[in-house]
Symmetry: C2
Subunit: 362 residues, 2 copies
């Protein structure tokens, strides 16, 4: 078994401010990659700008990353960064800007490359990346993955290059003013990372340790998703659980629910976390009997008394699949050909079992 987690992580109140000297020290000019709105509203963009200015590091802001960024969006951001002479990248936001930031760091470093380079199995260098997450789901700040939408294939896929950020600055306060729907969708994405990594072909004691602790921390804060008044610490807990789950999938990759989710997101515009979460009770339900003690342990750690209670939670908080029979068939037939995702399942799953997973949230 393997452990590799080279990103330097600081999780604390005012993480960006406290470590801005290090952040500003990765180069002479930063390309700040973010979305249009949230990083302005939650203060993260201003914190990063203040930190860069304090240490006299130049910067240019590219704020046009949207949800589920495409390869073309990455190429556009990279062209802007090249033109600005950026020599490192700071990503701020949810998974979309963070994943885009990694891909951009690769393209800028290899300046004459076309977009095909993103999915080629060759060894390439990349600019240093600093990641500032503002949601609690992606874990991208501590993973080497950069999932982009490949429009020509109508799916989402991580680029071929493994890019760990050099530095992750994690601060729960950026979550404080986020809409509950964003907190829920991203917290459920993190939950998917924990459960898919825990029940994964490549799970090891290292990855299970990360998952177990992540579940414990997530369970402490999960009340927020049911409408409980959040304690001050809950934001930090959700962010921490998300980072731990990110470290876990860095070792195992994600599994079948993520694989299925891409259909919902690309074809039906279902937000990523919700799309993942809908398949989680089904995934636990089709695990062979020998996994039962671990399933019960996982659910209890998360704060659910039973699989039924967990299913009730997803139905209440996330709703249902909302697919026609034909769409569902197309999705299942598609995943049944995705050997990589099938290989992530630690037993020989049948097509019937995948339909069963869907039937629970029809």
């Amino acid at each position: 078994m393997n452990f590799y987690m080279p990103t330097m992580v600081y999780q604390e109140n005012d993480a960006v401010k406290n470590h801005s000297e290090q952040m500003a020290g990765y180069g002479k000019k930063a390309l700040v990659v973010t979305g249009k709105h949230s990083s302005k509203q939650n203060g993260a963009l201003q914190d990063v700008i203040d930190g860069l200015e304090k240490y006299h590091t130049a910067y240019a802001v590219y704020d046009r990353i949207t949800e589920n960024p495409t390869v073309d969006a990455v190429m556009e951001a990279a062209a802007f960064g090249q033109q600005e002479g950026a020599d490192f990248v700071v990503g701020i936001g949810g998974g979309s800007p963070l994943d885009a930031a990694k891909a951009v760091a690769l393209v800028i470093q290899n300046r004459d490359s076309s977009k095909e380079v993103l999915y080629q199995n060759i060894s390439l260098r990349h600019l240093p990346v600093v990641a500032v997450p503002t949601t609690c789901g992606t874990g991208s700040e501590v993973t080497p993955y950069a999932v982009l939408t490949r429009e020509e294939l109508q799916t989402k896929q991580s680029i071929s290059h493994l890019i760990f950020p050099e530095l992750a600055l994690v601060d729960g306060k950026y979550l404080k003013n986020a809409p509950l729907s964003v907190i829920t969708n991203t917290a459920v994405d993190a939950l998917g990372h924990m459960l898919e990594s825990y029940f994964h072909t490549r799970a090891t004691d290292y990855s299970r340790m990360l998952c177990q602790y992540a579940m414990e921390v997530w369970g402490m804060a999960a009340g927020v998703l049911f409408g409980t008044e959040p304690e001050e610490e809950d934001y930090g807990r959700l962010m921490f659980a998300s980072s731990l789950a990110g470290m876990a999938i860095s070792h195992t990759s994600t599994g079948l629910p993520h694989g299925l989710s891409y259909y919902l997101t690309c074809r039906k515009a279902v937000p990523h976390g919700k799309a993942v979460g809908l398949f989680l009770p089904g995934y636990l339900s089709v695990l062979p009997e020998e996994y039962e003690p671990q399933v019960i342990m996982a659910l209890r750690t998360l704060g659910f008394g039973s699989l039924g209670q967990f299913l009730g939670f997803t139905q209440e908080v996330l709703g249902t699949l909302g697919l026609t029979e034909q769409e569902e068939q197309e999705m299942v037939e598609g995943i049944a050909k995705n050997q990589k995702k099938l290989d992530a399942v630690p037993f020989a799953i049948t097509k019937e079992q995948i339909y069963q997973m869907c039937s629970m949230v029809r």
Copy 2:
């Protein structure tokens, strides 16, 4: 709170063989740093040589590292490595050769430096280090520490430079033929890392996660120390627990029992693990009442029903301090002036409490 653990770790049967291409790829000529006997007996040295030869990487073996290596020993090994033109270092063994390997990697890289450089607060580069542990206590394969004996100060101290190995190749099989005394002494050293890190001023959720999992794994294999016939997996478990505990102290540093142990080792030649272990029940006993639930949890996870049972274990397996009244006084007065170690204790410990720690194992 911070998480930083850049070493790439492989723990598995035949780890050296499986990853010898990576090991051999850190340079053109390896300086292999090890002790006189054990790495020959347990097969680790031969595995490393086979791996280097397979990928046509030259090497020179320096096998004169003894227990508690001195600064002079490091300088001698480094002079040999320089003369041989080594451009990376492979350390094999317990904490002594692994810690020496790191210091050697620093001195070789900075060729005209005198031994003073080891304890200077300046930023220096070092050759890449590969670590192959053969005991289950040091955790050095995943820490940035390199503890050497400073003869002029009659104590042990980590060098000023933080040197994480690039690669750690961890294989329980090297423990199989080790004398029980070596397994016990090193497993108790790891136990010290867990308990000192868990009850440490700088403990965080990250470090506590590592300690908790380490305690669980250690507890599964601890029977070996009481004479239970080992299961095949126990060797790997003890090694794994040691790595996890190493990762924990990488974040917190060690605490008071380690601080006290150096007196016993430097003045009375008590093996490191035993010297640490003697102070562990006492350390738990002087923790303020609010720590009681955590102390009970820790002891249970390790497989001890109570503090008394834990004390019985140390008395049975490790014996007693064996100091005269005057020596004990000298030791306590010495540590009472060691602000760094006192600062590691998460409450204001008194000199009386340190005497109390000693009184339990007199």
